[in-house]
């Protein structure tokens, strides 16, 4: 559009130079032909595939419009699946390549209708609703590409979810006819009901070369670990019935068995268990008075009593999922949806998505042989664990079982994690339900380390123009034995720092960093000059801390390298009258923050503050020229889940809250502003991460009746 506008506007400019009519027409004609040529050429040489040209702009189409493909009888049949296939032998990883997003590209073959030479379709159902949902979901996802040349994974549109509806040989032939088949390399098939009578194989019987199979009933003998993906058997009830999530807790029944086709040996065993344990067990079966059909699938009976299925599942703590002819059971999905803990009795069954899901936290797997001991085994599980399992079960359903979309995208994510293992999702991401993700913390400094004393710490002094006070601070700090380096952050752009010769002479390197803007957040920048782990942030007017106190602070930090270790402590309180948080700097028995006017912390938090601070907190702090310390306290507490450590007794700090010397009113507005900060930050973090504690750290022998000169840190707490 843009181009056309440009040309037409240039048209009139050409006209005055043309003498004759002909010339105009020639030029016009010429340009038309030229443009036409260019366009045709572009269309020709632009990479595109012929096979997809047909369904170009069509959207309003019916499944029946899919092109018909006739399979010759002699058409080749792929080999049976190769049991030794693994990602590095049967998967062409070059197709996926290195890509900055670490995301595989998935291509879906256009729908075709395969028939044999007599015109009989290869499948009795054709495309099923579920498979269509699955393909649409993949097509809507980030994984999808329509460009077959860029794809890393190919998904045939031939529906093989249910082997019963397939003609095995013809389906295999149809697969081999796919244009990019290449021995099934990088092809993914979804199958939920494998095998057929009488022996019910546990993997799809269709010969399929090297296809990667996402199957719903693998046994340990057919599952190629690290290659295939075990998926659930989708239960259509998931879409039809809405079961609201129930609070975890004890239910009316302890164990419920709701499956209808249980082998009589097992049913006898269950009956015996019921005899022994009575009402705690509920054994349901088909209702004999109802005819087959959708209605009977939604009812269960016990001695003439009729129960609604799957609603009744919500009434029990544990629900039995026994294997039938097949290992994978749709009942598992129903049970999870009901938030009932599945008790799985299916030897050798590979549980759905077992590569990433920790089923031990959501289910109880009991060997079939031990069915008779089921009751005792389940009784030995503590209540709190049962509740956690109920919650976990429901979460698994919500996230991975609830729809064909969930099943399909989880499968792709698992394959994606294998191809880009360095960007793989973590255990916590896969297994923690949102509630836990929200409240739990995974500290980035999780290893319990007490770093060596030797590297010392770097003191970072933020200063504007109080040179005299700054020099005093520098002189004081330089007496601390473990000081490794002093970094002065000169935040005044209008004035240069004093000449080098004027600075106090100290025994450690002193660096001055000049900043571009007078921002509070400059104090927390992860300067390259900071070469130690430990940072001491200190204001240019904190001269009252003794060398012992600072050294002791550093020693305490070494034992808590993932916390803020500071001197003046502060507290946040909930103001019931106002219904919001309040900042407290009074003498309290509790501490939830330490001021960063004098605090030790890990350099990692500088990095977090500068680059990972949530929301607009950083800008807000810079704009208000206040609360950078509160923000730091929030950040550290949020990511570690731990309280700061206040060290040494309270001193007469030149109260950082009252820089205006004599203003009670100013003091109050300051407090109001700090309270506002807390409320603002709490809303940005979506929670109140600060932790309140009642302790502070003192030297072991502090104020003990013991000769002062034998104490490591005698000069502590002097006012």
């Amino acid at each position: 559009m843009y181009a056309s506008g440009k040309y037409s506007s240039r048209g009139p400019a050409l006209i005055p130079r043309m003498k004759t009519k002909h010339r105009i027409y020639y030029i016009t004609l010429f340009s038309v032909v030229l443009l036409g040529l260019i366009a045709t050429g572009m269309f020709q040489f632009w990479p595109h595939s012929i096979e997809s040209a047909a369904d170009w702009t069509l959207d309003k189409r019916s499944v029946h419009d899919a092109p018909l493909v006739r399979l010759p009888v002699s058409s080749p049949i792929p080999e049976r699946g190769d049991l030794s296939c693994r990602m590095h032998t049967c998967f062409d990883v070059y197709r996926c390549g290195y890509n900055p997003k670490n995301r595989i590209k998935v291509y879906i073959y256009p729908l075709q209708k395969f028939v044999d030479e007599l015109g009989v379709p290869i499948s009795s159902t054709g495309l099923s609703r579920e498979y269509n949902d699955l393909l649409s979901a993949i097509s809507d996802s980030d994984f999808y590409t329509d460009d077959v040349t860029r794809a890393c994974l190919f998904i045939p549109s031939i529906d093989v979810l249910n082997q019963n509806s397939l003609r095995i040989r013809e389906t295999a032939q149809a697969l081999a006819m796919l244009p990019r088949w290449d021995k099934g390399m990088n092809h993914l098939l979804f199958n939920m009901l494998p095998g057929g009578p009488p022996d019910y194989n546990t993997a799809l019987d269709v010969p399929r070369d090297r296809v990667l199979l996402a199957g719903g009933g693998f046994s340990t003998w057919t599952y190629r670990q690290g290659y295939d993906v075990s998926i659930p058997v989708y239960s259509p009830l998931s879409a039809d019935v809405e079961l609201p999530e129930r609070q975890p807790g004890p239910r009316r029944y302890f164990i419920l068995s709701s499956q209808t086709a249980i082998h009589r040996e097992y049913r006898a065993e269950l009956e015996r268990l019921k005899e022994e344990n009575g009402e705690a067990l509920l054994l349901l079966d088909k209702c004999s008075n109802l005819s087959q059909g959708a209605a009977s699938a939604r009812k269960r009976c016990y001695k003439g009593q009729v129960y609604d299925y799957p609603q009744i599942l919500q009434e029990s703590s544990f629900c039995v999922v026994l294997r039938g002819a097949r290992l994978g059971q749709a009942a598992l999905s129903d049970v999870l949806q009901a938030g009932c803990v599945p008790v799985i009795l299916a030897d050798s069954y590979i549980l759905p998505f077992s590569e990433v899901l920790d089923w031990k936290r959501a289910s109880v797997v009991i060997p079939e042989e031990k069915l008779s001991e089921m009751y005792t085994i389940l009784k030995s599980i503590p209540h709190r664990q049962v509740e956690e399992m109920q919650r976990q079960a429901r979460w698994f359903w919500d996230a991975y079982f609830s729809s064909m979309k969930a099943i399909g995208l989880t499968t792709l994510q698992i394959i994606n994690d294998r191809i880009y293992p360095y960007a793989a999702r973590t255990y916590e991401q896969w297994n923690n339900p949102p509630v836990v993700k929200w409240s739990s913390v995974n500290s980035p400094l999780f290893l319990p380390l007490i770093p060596p004393r030797a590297p010392g710490f770097t003191a970072v002094v933020l200063t504007y123009d109080r040179v005299e006070s700054l020099f005093r601070v520098i002189t004081e700090i330089s007496k601390v034995p473990s000081l490794a380096k002093l970094l002065v952050v000169w935040n005044n752009q209008n004035k240069s720092p004093p000449e080098e010769s004027l600075w106090p002479k100290i025994g450690v390197p002193l660096k001055v960093v000049r900043t571009k803007e007078n921002k509070l957040s400059n104090r927390f920048f992860p300067y390259d000059e900071i070469e130690t782990e430990a940072v001491l942030a200190i204001d240019d007017d904190i001269i009252m801390l003794t060398s012992d106190e600072l050294q002791f602070g550093y020693e305490v930090w070494r034992e808590f390298p993932d916390r803020l270790v500071g001197y003046p402590g502060r507290l946040h309180l909930w103001d019931h009258e106002m219904g919001k948080w309040k900042y407290e700097s009074e003498w309290t028995n509790e501490v939830s923050m330490v001021l960063t006017g004098a605090a030790f912390y890990h350099k990692y938090f500088n990095y977090l503050y500068t680059y990972k601070m949530p929301g607009d907190i950083k800008n807000w702090v810079d704009a208000h020229m206040n609360c950078e310390d509160i923000a730091m306290n929030f950040l550290v507490a949020n990511i570690t889940g731990k309280a700061p450590i206040k060290v040494t007794p309270r001193k007469k700090f030149k109260c950082p809250e009252c820089t205006a010397i004599d203003g009670l009113s100013l003091d109050q507005t300051h407090m109001v502003e700090r309270s506002e900060c807390i409320n603002k930050f709490a809303s940005v973090f979506g929670t109140m991460p600060l932790k309140v504690v009642e302790h502070r750290a003192d030297p072991v022998l502090y104020k003990d009746d013991f000769p002062e000169k034998l104490k490591s840190f005698p000069n502590i707490g002097s006012l």
Binding site: T57, N132, S296, K360, L449, P452, F706
Partner: protein, 740 residues
């Protein structure tokens, strides 16, 4: 006229474009994409079929629910399986006799070692393995009660060219009456196959035995049955082992070199594909990949053009220095899939970048390796530099710490490797009381988490933060009583009152360890909380028995003569809630290394630091009772019982070994046991020099069993925020603590 021409031309142009638009269709779109230099993500999605609502279900509800049960009886099917799924298709269900392990309930997991024959040569590594099993709590000398059998024959090195190869294994094992086609046997192996193709063949038929093998190939690995173990050298320590090399988390976490490799280049044979290509990624700056041809006897025969230059470059760098200074370490396959450098780089906190296709990683059943290593692909060697460059700082930090966690939890000693193998098998045997993946993959590691105690995460002291829950609000006081009750003014009476007044106290248990029988119920004062008296059978270790009566997570362990205030108890309990995995208590002690005696020393003097908190007055998690009674060996507990001493030191060893952190001392009003001892007690035991010497010895015995010194020093104690501050006492919550 001019105007008309203008219009004609304009019209024509417009027509052209219209035609082009109509005819070209997508050309416009493509042009647009070309101009914006962007390919549209989805141009042709999966069609939104008009009749999608009428598509059939993939299966009818009936079909799904009444899955046609096969007529075959499940019992018969299971029997048939054992006949079919044997040897290379072994699984626990078919090749393992579970009944052997159930003879003694949960205690049933016992391991028997065949006695070794006189003229058997047993390698250093295998000797260590057998020693680890022999000293473990699962060992039994009685084959009848064994669940698992381990051969006395050294099967570690099955390379026929090796000096340690033991011939005729097949014939010998077949002669064993207990062999039973290898059922319930565990076979350890480090090297299989030989030049030139290094197959997985062990040179004898292992039958249905479980294979614990290094360098296992995923294709031969019987999932859920075999155990992949790491390759370790004969110098690998038996116990304890070195700690990881990571002592601090520098920011940014990058080291001098990004990626390093220093090792052999195979000119021919298996594994040479990868090793021969490694030099390509060497850039001499941040990626150092050095190979040498100089290995084996006849290397000069196969020598190629690169060799001399490479050998020179190779000598320029020191392997240890590279290990210390590199962020990532290449761990390519050698002749076999696993290599020593895997454990070396794990210990060095140099994140391993694996190039060993098909290698079943060590303990892959339980360890989530993608959180600690970068799993590369041999085929994509040239992508490795860009891949590791793209790993962000935060991920590097996490990966690096995880290497250390795994190293210390499972690999730093032969003991740990062997125990992990046994625990994995035990978890399979008792699958419903086993560890979940979270327990295996978070601190302190699976070996220290005993599932028999509980399988519920919140019942352990380590997982509160990870689960987003906090420790319980109540504690149980366990008072250790040794003096018979004669008067109502005995210190224990005072103590009962003080403790029961705490609002956090939910119950009190008196552990009666006196020679006299416990007094009548009525002799005890009335109490606002339930009081239980348990017989400790006069054993010192009984104070750490996992008494079922303890219902709370926190335990307050007390000696009968401890003098405390209610507010002291309350304060210490609140501190414990912040540090639930540690011991939080009052009287501190310290250990030190005595270079003259070449032994550890113990001191009860007032010092500026401490590493032990006496359990005469301390809070800790009740799980430590369980660990104390079940994780520690009987020998140490016997020592404690025999001397009636050191139980507190042992507890401190245990907790520090779990946490790698010191205990925590809290403020106390008076110095511990300062008061003159009440009459009736002959002498205070701690004043006895014999007592002191025993403790000195204990420390050394314990350190010996642990294989290292787990105790850690701390230099601070925790006081109430306003402790001894110059403010009005009215403001102070714990003012009692300051009274002299």
């Amino acid at each position: 006229m001019q105007a008309r021409k203008k219009y004609v031309l304009l019209g024509l142009c417009a027509c052209c474009w219209l035609v082009l638009f109509y005819w070209g269709g997508g050309v416009q779109l493509r042009l647009l994409r070309l101009l914006t230099r962007q390919r549209g993500e989805v141009v042709r999605p999966w069609p939104n079929w008009t009749d999608r609502a009428f598509l059939p279900r993939y299966a009818h509800l009936d079909e799904l629910q009444t899955d046609p049960g096969s007529a075959e009886s499940p019992r018969q099917r299971r029997q048939a399986w054992s006949a079919i799924y044997k040897d290379s298709r072994c699984r626990m269900e078919t090749c393992f006799d579970f009944s052997r392990c159930r003879r003694r309930g949960r205690e049933g997991f016992r391991v028997y070692i065949y006695p070794s024959e006189k003229n058997d040569r047993v390698s250093e590594s295998y000797r260590k393995i057998l020693m680890s099993i022999g000293e473990s709590r699962y060992y039994t000398s009685d084959p009848r009660e064994a669940c698992l059998f381990v051969l006395g024959i050294d099967t570690l090195d099955r390379d026929q060219l090796s000096g340690q190869f033991v011939p005729n294994v097949d014939e010998r094992i077949r002669g064993y009456p207990l062999w039973n086609d290898g059922r319930n046997h565990l076979i350890f192996n480090l090297y299989s196959g030989t030049w030139p193709n290094y197959t997985e063949d062990l040179g004898f038929n292992i039958g249905q035995a479980i294979l614990a093998k290094a360098s296992l190939n995923a294709e031969h690995f019987r999932p859920g049955f075999d155990v992949s173990i790491p390759l370790f050298s004969k110098d690998h320590p038996q116990k304890g082992g070195e700690r990881g090399w990571l002592v601090r988390n520098t920011i940014p976490p990058r080291r001098k070199y990004l990626l390093m490799f220093k090792g052999k280049r195979y000119l021919t044979g298996i594994g040479s594909d990868t090793r021969n290509a490694l030099h390509h990624i060497h850039n001499g700056k941040d990626i150092v990949s050095l190979t040498t041809c100089r290995h084996g006897k006849d290397w000069e025969k196969h020598k190629d053009a690169r060799c001399d230059h490479d050998n020179l470059e190779y000598e320029r760098f020191d392997y240890q220095e590279l290990l210390h200074n590199s962020t990532f370490c290449l761990v390519p396959r050698g002749r076999r899939l696993g290599s020593f450098r895997f454990l070396e780089s794990l210990q060095a906190a140099c994140i391993p970048v694996l190039l060993s296709n098909g290698w079943e990683l060590p303990f892959s059943d339980v360890i989530q390796w993608n959180q600690a290593v970068i799993e590369g692909d041999e085929r994509l060697l040239l992508q490795v530099p860009s891949t590791v460059r793209a790993v962000g700082n935060e991920r590097v930090l996490a990966l690096r710490q995880r290497t250390q966690m795994l190293w210390e939890a499972y690999f730093s000693s032969v003991d740990k490797i062997v125990l992990t193998t046994l625990e994995i098998i035990k978890d399979r045997v008792f699958s419903h009381i086993s560890r979940n993946k979270y327990m295996w993959n978070s601190l302190p590691g699976g070996l220290l988490v005993l599932p028999e105690y509980s399988t519920h995460l919140a019942h352990f002291p380590f997982y509160y933060l990870g689960l987003g829950v906090s420790p319980g609000q109540e504690f149980t006081a366990v008072i250790h009583a040794v003096t018979p009750l004669v008067s109502q003014s005995q210190p224990i009476m005072k103590l009962l009152q003080v403790v029961s007044k705490s609002k956090y106290c939910s119950q009190i248990i008196i552990l009666w360890n006196s020679e006299k029988p416990p007094p009548n119920r009525s002799k005890w004062p009335p109490m606002p909380v339930p009081l239980t008296v348990t017989d400790g059978r006069r054993k010192t270790t009984s104070r750490f028995l996992p008494h079922v009566a303890i219902e709370t997570e926190a335990v307050l362990s007390l000696d009968e003569d401890t003098v405390l205030l209610t507010s002291e108890v309350n304060f210490a309990f609140l501190v414990w809630r912040s540090f639930p995995e540690r011991i939080v208590g009052y009287p501190p002690r310290s250990h030190f290394w005595d270079p003259l005696k070449h032994a550890w020393g113990y001191t009860s003097k007032w010092t500026n630091d401490y590493s032990i908190i006496l359990t005469g007055a301390a809070f800790y998690h009740r799980y430590y009772h369980y660990l104390f009674s079940h994780y520690l060996p009987q020998s140490l507990r016997t020592l404690v019982d025999r001397t009636s001493n050191c139980e507190d030191i042992l507890m401190n060893f245990l907790v520090s070994a779990v946490t790698h952190l010191p205990p925590i001392k809290v403020a106390q009003r008076k110095q511990y046991k300062e008061l003159p001892s009440p009459q009736g007690i002959k002498s205070v035991p701690w004043a006895n020099p014999e007592h002191f010497n025993q403790r000195q010895e204990c420390i050394n015995t314990f350190a010996n069993w642990f294989g290292y010194m787990p105790l850690v020093h701390s230099q601070f104690r925790l006081d109430p925020v306003l402790f001894k501050d110059q403010v009005s006492v009215l403001r102070k919550k714990y003012k009692d603590l300051e009274r002299a």
